[in-house]
């Protein structure tokens, strides 16, 4: 009950704090800090490192936005959120961006009054089981016990999938990924289900990752992306185009190391507009001309971030797959900067 009351109080007081005031951009500038809602601990996506600094794929979005808006990618206050309290935290104004592997769905966009700034990871729901269970397909999971995070789209997909295939299951509801990991390792469930990227990240943190397999079935579409509150379009634009800038930067070969050089030497008009050498794109939404340059310098372009946090050279080892540039057969496609 304690937490419930907290949430309620949070919703009520937070609402009063969040909306009586100015726009989110002005708030963030006045505060000098970006409040960013992240996962409370998912290796590769958002997790504190040994020194207590937050690192990860979702964290990099926060850093890029902070760099674009405040000029410093480290001016971020990370708010760890569970799958249950993330939307309340966003709509109450506790966080300015929710960058917490959150699936873009119709009802969240429309009914929960969120705005998704885009997709930073195209994902799908999968299952992980112990190897010695001898299961090779999700279709063999009839009668099994499944660990599942509550308040997620995966919870609903799971019910739909088992129903569509005429199978039975016992759900074991957990609150956070850490809890799910613990229950799964303790054998309280036969399989653990969440987004395939989350499964890979979770497995990478196991003591013996090789004892576990991720089943081939992907049972849903899970476009994950950063979300902001509905109604503040200017702020939504800033987050959307920061993400697009990171994606476009990879497409045009702009990296954190060559961005300074390209800014002065590039002949490509699109790159020049992106890096603020031509036109005044930044001024259109209240930022200066160098916003995208700073965002790219904060953690690199999309490809650099991917490779450093969850790519094939990391323990998580995710392939680009759907998340490659459209020129490489993937789905990433930044609209033109003009």
């Amino acid at each position: 009950m304690k937490r419930t009351v907290c949430l309620g109080a949070l919703a009520i007081t937070g609402l009063s704090a969040g909306f009586a005031s100015a726009t989110t951009l002005e708030d963030v500038k006045a505060r000098g800090e970006l409040n960013c809602g992240v996962n409370s601990g998912l290796v590769g996506f958002a997790t504190p490192d040994a020194n207590g600094n937050w690192v990860g794929f979702d964290v990099a979005i926060c850093k890029a936005v902070a760099a674009a808006v405040l000029g410093d990618g480290s001016k971020v206050k990370y708010v760890p959120l569970s799958s249950q309290n993330r939307f309340t935290a966003l709509s109450s104004g506790e966080v300015d961006i929710l960058s917490r592997n959150t699936t873009w769905t119709f009802s969240r966009d429309v009914d929960l009054k969120l705005d998704f700034a885009g997709v930073n990871y195209y994902d799908g729901q999968g299952f992980m089981v112990r190897k010695d269970l001898g299961v090779t397909s999700a279709k063999e999971l009839d009668g099994s016990t499944v660990c599942i995070q509550t308040g997620t789209t995966t919870e609903l997909n799971l019910a739909d999938y088992f129903k569509a295939n005429g199978m039975e299951y016992q759900p074991v509801s957990v609150d956070t990924n850490a809890e799910g990991e613990q229950q799964f390792l303790a054998g309280a469930c036969d399989s653990y289900t969440t987004d395939a990227s989350g499964l890979a990240a979770t497995r990478a943190a196991f003591a013996n990752p090789d004892d576990y397999v991720i089943l081939p079935e992907i049972i849903s579409k899970e476009p994950l992306g950063p979300a902001v509150r509905h109604g503040d379009n200017e702020w939504g634009d800033i987050v959307r185009w920061t993400l697009n800038a990171l994606i476009a930067a990879e497409e045009y070969g702009v990296t954190s190391t060559n961005v300074e050089e390209l800014a002065s030497s590039s002949e490509n008009p699109e790159v020049r507009r992106l890096l603020g050498q031509e036109g005044d794109l930044g001024a259109m939404f209240g930022l200066d001309a160098d916003w995208a340059k700073r965002a790219i310098m904060a953690g690199g372009n999309y490809g650099e971030i991917f490779a450093a946090t969850i790519g094939e050279s990391t323990p998580i080892g995710l392939a680009r797959g759907l998340n490659a540039q459209w020129t490489q057969g993937g789905l990433l496609y930044a609209p033109p900067f003009r």
């Binding site: 309620g8 799958s83 009054k113 016990t145 509550t150 759900p171 509801s173």
Partner: protein
């Protein structure tokens, strides 16, 4: 010399509201009331403004929508096609179920521990002190998690029961299997059952109804028998031997009914992943129940001890002087007087236990907070509505418990004539 006495002014002046002690308290109360109302009005107005700004409405229509999620522990039929209202009801019943089990266990343990803590046996009294201090000084959430850890770590996984030389064996003629997911117990079934009546709320098993009626009838008959024995004892001074008649009345009809209905047991069977068939008592329920009961029992033990100490020692000395044995002294002299001290604080412990049951999500037990206040709230985004509804329900549960317990309190309290 005559003074013209002015008649004291009868009229009412506004300044009296502040300077006249007769009116001052009223003024303060009125001003405070207005401030409180303004505060509430501001909060509500603010809430409505902000809901407007977000474009959200305030309505409970979401309760009629399809829930779409599954719940592990259900006392009434539920599927993911049921409504959110049904899911909330499932959660509510789970809350009530674990609270009821918890209140019973906590009372039994608490009374025993409370009495034993006053024991003359040094070891027992000290052990009980350790128990009470350990349990009531550590947060209940930790005890619930400890209970879950013990349940899952000490029990084998279902796969340990597999194979020619399994690592684990089922107990009692294959009727009980402890696993790290739950305890699977053989269920009672009837080959000549009476069927069920389907009501919108839950199907009612006629077998159960018949059994309950027979048991109630037996208890009633047994009370008649005991009353008769008491009358004989008063008239003749000799109490007739009735224990075997009692036993026959209590057990005979029930056993006969069970045999007539063709009782069988359906044993849990190990399938591909889990045991199926039989009753499944999940570890989530057991660990929540254990954690809550042991924690609350520590408080109840202290209440019971205080109640017993409130009865002056002269009472028990007098009872001993009359030749009553210690346990009869406790039962006939001390406890009846202690109860009037014990019951009021006991009520608040029951309320605490019920409210603490909302920690259930920590072990994955889907109570009201897990369904309505957790998944439903999250999937529909109706935070304000869900929280208000949940607060209202918890309020109603608590008031009902207080109401019932106050009735009981009235029956045990000191009768002043």
């Amino acid at each position: 010399m005559a003074f013209a006495h002015d008649a004291p002014e009868r009229g009412f002046r506004l300044s009296q509201l502040i300077y006249d002690t007769r009116y001052r308290s009223l003024t303060i109360q009125a001003v405070t009331m207005i401030l409180v109302m303004l505060g509430v009005w501001w909060l509500i107005g603010n809430l409505l403004d902000n809901l407007n700004a977000l474009g959200k409405t305030f309505d409970f229509g979401f309760l009629e929508q399809r829930a779409g999620y599954d719940i592990a522990q259900t006392l009434i039929p539920y599927s993911n096609d049921s409504t959110h209202a049904r899911a909330a009801l499932v959660g509510l019943l789970n809350t009530l179920w674990v609270s009821l089990l918890g209140c019973i266990a906590a009372t039994v343990i608490g009374v025993v521990v409370g009495i034993l803590r006053l024991s003359n046996n040094w070891l027992i009294a000290r052990l009980m002190t350790v128990y009470v201090e350990a349990f009531r000084n550590v947060p209940v959430l930790l005890w619930i998690l400890v209970a879950l850890a013990v349940m899952t770590e000490l029990t084998p996984s279902p796969s340990a029961y597999r194979g020619d030389d399994p690592a684990a064996q089922m107990l009692l003629f294959d009727s009980i299997a402890f696993t790290n997911r739950g305890t699977h117990i053989a269920a009672i079934e009837f080959t000549r059952g009476l069927g069920v009546i389907n009501t919108p709320l839950a199907p009612i098993s006629l077998n159960f109804v018949a059994f309950a009626l027979v048991v109630i009838g037996s208890i009633w008959a047994n009370r008649k028998l005991r009353a008769h024995a008491a009358r004989v004892q008063e008239a003749t001074g000799v109490r007739p031997t009735i224990w075997w008649k009692s036993l026959l009345i209590l057990l005979g009809p029930a056993i006969f009914l069970l045999l007539a209905l063709g009782i069988t047991f359906s044993l849990p069977v190990l399938e591909r992943f889990n045991f199926t068939g039989g009753l499944n008592v999940s570890n989530a329920l057991v660990s929540l129940w254990l954690g809550l009961s042991l924690y609350t029992a520590a408080f109840i033990a202290e209440i019971v001890r205080a109640g017993i100490l409130s009865v002056s020692s002269g009472q028990s000395e007098a009872a001993f002087a009359l030749g009553l044995r210690p346990n009869r002294t406790m039962k006939l002299v001390v406890l009846p007087q202690a109860l009037r001290v014990i019951v009021p604080p006991l009520i608040s412990q029951f309320l605490n236990l019920t409210k603490n049951s909302s920690l259930a999500i920590a072990v994955g037990y889907m109570d009201l907070r897990g369904t309505l206040g957790g998944i439903t709230m999250n999937q529909t985004g109706r935070e304000i509505e869900a929280i208000l509804l949940m607060m209202l329900i918890y309020l109603l549960i608590s008031l009902s418990i207080s109401g019932v317990m106050n009735l009981y309190n009235r029956s045990v309290k000191l009768k002043e004539r």
